[in-house]
């Protein structure tokens, strides 16, 4: 399936893009992470959470969404 991946803050700085589309088979969020960590080597040194359809998910969560986001530590306010 086709999934939109969004990057924010220092994660976007690392990937040098704020959004891209990837194709992936069904599976878990960890499958997407494996793919992205291969593509962006520097990501492994970064602290981030993953959101699927705007909810924070764990690597074991099944891929259901059309929108995944990599979110660095929040610093609002």
């Amino acid at each position: 399936m086709e999934i939109t991946i969004k990057y924010f803050g220092q994660i976007a700085e690392e990937t040098n893009t704020t959004e891209e589309t990837i194709r992936i088979e069904n599976g878990n969020i960890s499958n997407i992470l494996t793919l992205l960590l291969k593509k962006y080597d520097g990501l492994k040194y970064k602290d981030f959470q993953v959101a699927q359809n705007q909810e924070i998910v764990s690597p074991e969560t099944e891929i259901t969404g059309a929108e995944i986001a990599l979110l660095p530590p929040f610093s609002g306010g």
């Binding site: 959101a51 986001a69 929040f74 610093s75 609002g76 306010g77």
Partner: protein, 147 residues
Amino acid sequence: MKDKKPKNVFIKGAITHEFIGNSIYKHQSKTSIGAHNIFLGQVRADKVDDKTVSAIEYTAYEDMANQKFHDIREATFNKFNLTCMHIYHSLGTVKAGEICLFVFVSAPHRKVVFDALEYVVEEIKAHVPVFGKEIFEDQSHQWKKNT
């Protein structure tokens, strides 16, 4: 189920004192209110080594952030007996000394507003995907992290 589209909480640039004053003024017609409590986040000119923060540039995962602000609103109204609540957050550049967060809660009596305001601010800091890039005077930067 998300049955209604959340409001947009974001404001382009700094939140001005006129905006805050005006927001206070608008509550004069709500004469059941006895107590307001307002939190303002202001950008600090922090020193890191030899450099000083001159501004913070805010970005956000806007759709998710507005949804989280909406969820925090709902949860706060469920927990505390408030008359009204308003939240505004800056996006883009906010200079040191300027306001980037404005949270405003009101109730008939004072006891509830203190707890409600602190709850809202802590929830925002913990759960809303907003990202602050601290810009130094020499245009270098570092990424802000909430504590």
